[in-house]
Amino acid sequence: MRAELVLMGKRINMTSRRRRRSLVVAVYAAMTAIAVAGWMIDRWHSTGSWLIWVALASCWLFFGGHYSRGLVKQFNGKGPRNADAMPNYLQLLFGVYRLPPDESEYRNDERELRERDRAHYQAYQGLGLGLAVLWLPALWLVSKPQWLAHTSFQLDQAVYGMIVVCFLLYTTLPQAILLWTEPDMEEDG
């Protein structure tokens, strides 16, 4: 995990677990607010895609995991695109090239890989349960039981909403667990 969050060129120290937890709470609170607003506007028919973009943007800006930015290093351990690129002659001549990042900046070591796997396990255990719960309304959606026809409950909306929520959690929950559980980072001593 990275110790600093770079936002609009500013470096924010995130070594403290309390700060990381505050960030997780703030991001999920913002997502919940947008989700509630979207549901009230049009039951997520068009605003559902906003939520997906918000989840991806929060990973890109804050959480990381899927991108080379953010606090959590990229899960697949790949470096940024320019990591292995050598500067060409013109770049060298004018001195306009960026040094490749240190490997420890983007590659997870064995402990970080273990933590990554644990976080995914915990996140997907919960999501698996969510999908199991989703199965029942999905079944009703297919079989259309008589008793449901007499209620005003919009089953397709509920299923769609649950799928969106599952996608949001799939995208962000492993990183959130990592940010929440990793202890305060120590100074190099």
Partner: protein, 107 residues
Amino acid sequence: MQDNGSRSTALGESGLFNRIGVLRAERGISRQELADAVGVNYQTIGFLERGDYGPSLKLAFQIGDYFGLPVEAIFSTTPFQPLSQQVYGASRLSAARRTEPDTEESK
């Protein structure tokens, strides 16, 4: 930071005791230097020192190679004796052994 003679009691979650902190202090090596040498994050060295993380066999050997010590001198499932006790205890024992034949002869 542990002093050189202290007993390593860092059992942590890993169930392993280790002397990484002692060895680092003894040789004046920072966590970052050790981490760079063995190819891990410096935070991981902290987790190892506190016993919160049990290293892979590869990492344990890398750390052993770095310090020029066998793995069992750095990691153990039982608490380490303080270094002072090990060094002076051993020299006292060998001194006692050296004097033993003389005492028998005198008898």
